[in-house]
Point group: C3
Chain length 352, copies 3
């Protein structure tokens, strides 16, 4: 027993045979170098395989729009649009809508009115009263006309600005950061406008620019509306200083297949309700066209961790073994010296 | 030194001993086949272990409801509900609420009124004025009565339809797609309704069907309200053509533990404010019951990548080594021919 | 050929040489024990490396606030705030805003009015009419004054409560759970308040406590507003019973860099529109200050799976091979007995 434990302290190692075959030797060395290059070059340097990755980013977004627009349509008279009117909802959410065009139907009252042809069939709740094809419908009268102004009424929306505050957190690494740099002073934030090259960390965006960057024309999109994604990407190498962990912005139009009229454009209806002196309800119906902004946050962080390092190194080593196996197969079965090699590589233990 | 570099070109390989022991031999072959079957069958074919995975899906959802309902309660008279009224918020969000039942308290004015018993204690801000147990409260009078109509007032909500547009993106692979198929023409989208087997890619859903598919009855759920999740699942194998990357829909009720009255049902209050001719405020309070729809997007994409392939293959190889180790242990310590085998497997180098 | 298949049943195993060198022997044993300790202790026990992980948690959040506050400012007279007024939006969303302070500008009408100095330049749409520096602006008059009350008007908001219902799902494991425990009875949920130690599973939170736990003073934050994250973390070991999978709550202030006045505080404007007897529009503008709550869900689940287990074990084994390689290098090249060892370890096959 003592002998057994004593023998544990001996170092056991594989006995090797050296095959003085230059072809196989070179082949195997080339393979070893390739595996080494893959492990060091690709896995470690390029893909940072020694890092534990976190992709489940947490984020909180606050938005604030600034700018006013004056509209003066023949129907509804002059009207001033502030952020409290053109941003829906007004409370600074991650997904919000900016009105750029609208159709107003004022003073609707519940009652019976003649059907207007452009209205889809689902509003028809009344019965047809004559044979001319027009029917009476019960609903809010007069029925909203659907003639969209050919030019955006809020064409000035191009100059509105969005201030985006994005707070992110990688819960696995307990790392958090904001896109508003700590170093930014007030005056910088009051004056700057985001620009990919010159001002990449300014969190204030001009609406016209945003649409431009998606490859669209603002005034054109403003007529029927549209849907724009503002992508904020955080690629953070947490082995470096946190000041290198910065957001990158990109911009895409989401309703882009123009040839499909159902999916392009963006509009919805809402109503403001009033009561007259007799207590009867009436309302103004707005059909608003505009741009829906969807701020999408995406991130990846990595930090050195022993487990992925071991897995990367270990699987590389195992791969070397696979190469040795292939070289052995060649030597053992595919060369004319195979039987000679086989005799030397293998030593037969004959259990009698 | 030249000899050293020269020797680098020799192929060094382990010397093997062949143990002519059929039991161990078969055991080890069976193990090898099992490992191979695991690596090829399970890791590669079933789990696509050669793919890099992306689970951090980005998505944007736009919803649009259609349908009208006419209510005629004794309290509030006839009323027509359009999408601008029954969808809250009306701007096409991912999480939205559809009114199916409501209690209206019109013409509330600020003042003092006698406490109504059904109102929870937290509204009581006044003082008790008599010993009968009723107290005076300061607030909006008359206090809203809480008698929920036993039948849903908007029972027609069953036939409303939701159009869901879901745009997704896998940032790691720079792949994006929409649930509205490019091939779909306008007329298809105007006429179709989602159906699991016949119309699995139509993005238009009937409300009644949605609730049915969660295993609930629409009219029953419409009374007290409820919370329904529409799950959209994208399982994409990006080694195949993108036309194989399609959404799968499923439907669950989220407030399902019926026996717990606090967690089932869904309602909230909102108010519409008016001013009378004298400039005094009054309001109509609505307590709305209805179905909250929560569209939850979930996705996974995979694409061939060398790193996970190497890790899968490498760890399989390493596992073979573990089997050889186990077989060796048996031969070395657990058989009566062990000492004989030991002598042959090990060659002692005696450092004098 | 038969001989070949027969020979497949022989067990081939590496031939070892035993180097009776205690130093290297001990070194290698220590290394083996270290690798074993790492694999078992760190990878398996601490990091649960035998589990497949899921980080893409799906979640649905419903919130409901309770409490009333009475304000009595000199400008706007007495007013009662219920949840339908102070929660924006009122429909129980995951991100919501609670009014704690406000400035009301009643009876604004469209027209021309003299510029008020405190209003930022972007509202100035009119022209300057005199040389005193004041300009006329076209807009809603009177212009909203920006004097924020120095004390929060809704100081009672401290005692409001939030009921949070969070439903989560790990799609890969088809596991779902809610933060409202199944075992909780109605009376418990009606009476409890969350408290880290005593009531960690009660889903009802007092607003004042929430702000306290972020290290801030409620009354102070209520003046200018702020942004608070409620983090719900689900760390679930699905190899154990699901009753061990419970949420953990934590609380952070998101707009915390106090020295940067632009990023701290939270407010926005909204308006209520009215029509007078002549049909002319007028409105009441509210600038509301308050606390934005952002409920952020984060989760990780793990369940035993063969693939990560094999990868963890396999890479550990491969690491052992790396240690043997290092020991060999020492024996082969760095000791005075090296040439002796080399002769024994390697057997030269001389292909003539």
């Amino acid at each position: 027993m003592a002998g057994f434990f004593f023998s544990l302290l001996n170092y056991k190692t594989e006995k090797y045979v050296i095959a003085e075959n230059k072809k196989i030797g070179i082949l195997f060395r080339v393979y070893q170098v390739a595996v080494l290059a893959y492990v060091i070059g690709w896995v470690f340097v390029m893909r940072k395989g020694y890092q534990e990755k976190e992709e489940a980013i947490q984020s909180s977004v606050i938005t604030k729009l600034k700018g006013v627009a004056l509209t003066n349509s023949s129907d509804s008279g002059p009207r001033l649009w502030g952020a409290e009117d053109y941003v829906i909802p007004p409370n600074g959410e991650q997904v919000f809508f900016v009105v750029t065009n609208f159709v107003e139907t004022p003073n609707q009252r519940l009652g019976l009115c003649a059907e207007v042809r452009v209205i889809p069939v689902w509003i028809k709740t009344g019965v047809c009263v004559n044979s001319t094809g027009t029917c009476e419908i019960q609903g809010w009268c007069p029925v909203g006309k659907s003639h969209r102004p050919p030019e955006p009424l809020l064409s000035g929306a191009e100059n509105f600005t969005i201030y985006i505050k994005n707070f992110i957190r990688f819960p696995k690494f307990e790392f958090s950061k904001s896109n508003v740099l700590e170093t930014s002073n007030d005056s910088y934030l009051k004056g700057c406008t985001y620009e990919k090259v010159e001002d990449p960390y300014c969190p204030i965006f001009r609406l016209g620019d945003l649409v431009d960057w998606t490859g669209n024309d603002f005034q054109e999109m403003a007529v029927k509306g549209g849907s724009v994604a503002i992508l904020i990407e955080w690629n953070c190498d947490l082995d470096r200083d946190s000041s290198h962990c910065n957001p990158e912005y990109s911009f895409t139009r989401l309703d882009s297949n123009i040839n499909n009229s159902i999916t392009s454009g963006y509009n919805f209806r809402y109503a403001r309700y009033y009561k007259d002196a007799t207590g009867e309800d009436f309302r103004t119906l707005y059909k608003v066209y505009g741009i829906r902004f969807d701020i999408m946050i995406n991130g990846r962080a990595g930090r050195f961790n022993i487990i992925p390092t071991v897995i990367a190194v270990g699987s590389g080593f195992a791969l070397l073994g696979a190469g040795a196996f292939a070289c052995d197969m060649i030597l053992l079965y595919m060369m004319n010296t195979s039987s000679f090699y086989r005799e030397r590589k293998f030593e037969i233990i004959n259990f009698k």
